[in-house]
């Protein structure tokens, strides 16, 4: 893997540690407001300063990692599972399943702006973490299904699959033990890029006021709260800190995804 991918991996490991140990790392209570300490610049007491209601920005960024990673992991896990099952079935059996999945569903989803669909779903369902995750899964699974279908179409023609079939193995056994293990590689890349996408979407929707409801320290919510002119003029750090956190996290997963793609597909190396 290239150097940028290692940077991504190291950053992600650090981020996971921060999220897991958030109560140990955070210097202040997340929700505590202190109206006497509003708009404070970074200092020894408040490492990244305070926001418009005197909350400690550093502690909120630390806890924000939990929300981002939680949403990202659940969305990727659910979408990847659903997408894999549907894509694998479509690729393996072909016929009408494939015609519906790849001819209609995938075409329609790809022709539609994903974020808008998520916005629409949340707009009608209402705000909340679970609804947000649901909306992101609805738009997320298609990518995995498409990758998986292509892979299974390729792998099912390999000799060892034919051999297994000739030996009388059942379909589910062939799919589960012979086809899937040889088809999952691109899925790892897709999952890494999917984490970047999910983190970004969560922040986008929360920023629009359609994601995690406000007191929660989601990075998107923090950005939204810090972007009005009076806060921006007095406490730009309250906007910069979560902004940097989002950007670095998305960047890290993108670097890792790109690096994995090169690593797993040697034909792409040295380009």
């Amino acid at each position: 893997m290239n150097r940028l991918a290692y940077f991504g991996l190291v950053f992600i490991v650090l981020l996971v540690l921060v999220a897991l140990c958030a109560p140990l790392i955070a210097t202040h209570q997340v929700g505590t407001t202190d109206l006497l300490a509003r708009y404070k610049p970074p200092s020894a007491a408040h490492w990244l300063g305070t926001d418009a209601t005197g909350r400690d920005v550093f502690s909120r960024v630390v806890y924000g990692a939990r929300i981002s990673l939680q949403v990202g992991l659940v969305v990727v896990a659910v979408s990847a599972t659903v997408g894999t099952i549907i894509g694998a079935l479509a690729g393996y059996y072909g016929g009408w399943i494939d015609r519906v999945v790849s001819g209609y569903v995938i075409n329609v989803f790809l022709a539609f702006p994903g974020l808008l669909l998520a916005i629409a779903i949340v707009a009608f369902l209402g705000q909340g973490l679970n609804k947000l995750i649901f909306a992101l899964c609805i738009i997320g699974w298609v990518g995995y299904a498409r990758v998986m279908r292509g892979q299974v179409l390729k792998v099912r023609e390999y000799d060892f699959v034919q051999a297994a079939r000739a030996l009388g193995a059942r379909d589910w056994r062939i799919l589960l033990f012979h086809v899937l293990p040889n088809a999952v590689q691109p899925l790892i890349v897709q999952a890494s890029l999917g984490m970047a996408g999910a983190v970004l979407s969560e922040a986008s929707l929360s920023f629009l006021g359609l994601g995690v409801p406000p007191p929660a320290p989601s990075w998107g919510v923090m950005l939204e709260e810090a972007r009005d002119l009076s806060t921006l003029a007095r406490a730009p750090h309250a906007m910069l800190a979560p902004g940097l956190a989002i950007a670095l996290t998305v960047l890290a997963f993108n670097f890792l995804g790109d690096g994995l793609r090169e690593y797993l597909d040697p034909r792409q190396r040295k380009r």
Binding site: L116, I119, L208, L251
Partner: protein, 331 residues
């Protein structure tokens, strides 16, 4: 010729399928609203008469779909009931075919009118963002491509990757801080005069310009190894003419497709940018007037118009692209 027509027909069929799905989706999603839209709009204090009147006016008293699966008035067990064509789904379709998207739940004005009054601002923003992206990406991409592999190229590649990963809601407030709060050069938000579009356009176009820089770079690298480049050099043309007149002309073809596809992405992404800069486009209408005020009829209309614009932009690009580069038709 026959294959070409078939291909266009296929694209149009997908287009119709997608539009049908979108319309169905926005009509059915409104059924997912927890509770009752009438109560959500009029509040808990509303009289039963007012609620009934509201439901009647907006057709909410009619069955939602061709069939329903609910308990009857006495509260017996749930059962299927066939409602026939006399339902809201058909109503909404009838309206759309006449260009009528219903009336806003809040202001009672036609949704079409509300959307049309904002549509221009969004298109303006998207096109401006496109221009900004091209103006940044083409020179940078050419520089990176012609300096392939050296420090400058690597630096530009990393900058491009960072640019792609920077979301607009980070870029936007940052630009506002630097150019409006700190330097005081432009207005932080709103739409007054030509200068107020600069920051929103840069914000919306930033990620695209990063993506385009990568594309122009790889396109230039590919074209530089073609025979016609050697011919042009052999004729004694200087490198500048070779790159900008010959290479770029061919190299920009794939970029044009991305541009068209991205116009749709920009339209959808404009929702966030419009919110950051208070830009009075259709995205702001959707979020502020539609979703925040639970004006579901308006949300339906906005989602519909944004998606159809997106889909049309993509289909048109796809068809145009085939005309632009004859080699594509063969494959």
């Amino acid at each position: 010729m026959k294959r070409k027509l078939l291909d266009i027909a296929r694209r149009l069929l997908i287009l119709l399928l997608v539009v049908w799905t979108v319309v169905s989706l926005v009509t059915i999603l409104i059924e997912l609203v927890p509770g009752d839209p009438a109560t959500a709009i009029l509040g808990d204090q509303a009289t039963p008469e007012a609620l009934t009147q509201f439901r009647e006016k907006h057709g909410l008293d009619r069955p939602a779909f061709f069939f329903s699966y609910t308990a009857n008035e006495e509260g017996g067990p749930r059962r299927f009931k066939w409602n026939g064509a006399d339902n809201r789904y058909v109503d909404y379709w009838r309206g759309i075919l006449r260009g009528d998207m219903g009336n806003s739940f809040r202001t009672d004005r036609p949704v079409r009118e509300l959307i049309l009054s904002r549509y221009g601002a969004t298109i303006q923003l998207a096109v401006a963002a496109l221009l900004v992206a091209v103006a940044i990406a083409v020179p940078l991409g050419v520089v990176a491509g012609t300096n392939r592999g050296n420090l400058l190229d690597n630096a530009l590649s990393v900058i491009a990757l960072v640019g792609i990963s920077l979301p607009s809601f980070v870029v936007g407030p940052l630009l506002i801080y630097v150019f409006a709060v700190w330097l005081g050069w432009v207005d932080p938000s709103g739409r007054f005069g030509w200068s107020s579009i600069i920051l929103p356009a840069v914000t919306l176009g930033a990620a695209l310009s990063a993506l385009l820089t990568r594309m122009v770079r790889s396109s230039v690298i590919e074209e530089m190894s073609e025979d016609y480049v050697r011919t042009a050099r052999a004729k004694g043309l200087n490198e500048r003419t070779v790159v900008y007149k010959h290479v770029l002309k061919n190299g920009l073809i794939p970029v044009v497709t991305v541009l068209g596809l991205q116009l749709g992405v920009l339209l959808a992404g404009a929702i966030i940018t419009e919110k950051i800069f208070n830009w009075p486009g259709i995205g702001l209408l959707l979020v502020e007037d539609g979703i925040n005020k639970r004006d579901y009829r308006l949300v339906q209309g906005c989602v519909l118009v944004i998606s159809v614009t997106y889909i049309l932009a993509n289909t048109l690009t796809d068809l145009l692209y085939r005309r632009l580069d004859p080699r594509i038709r063969v494959s």
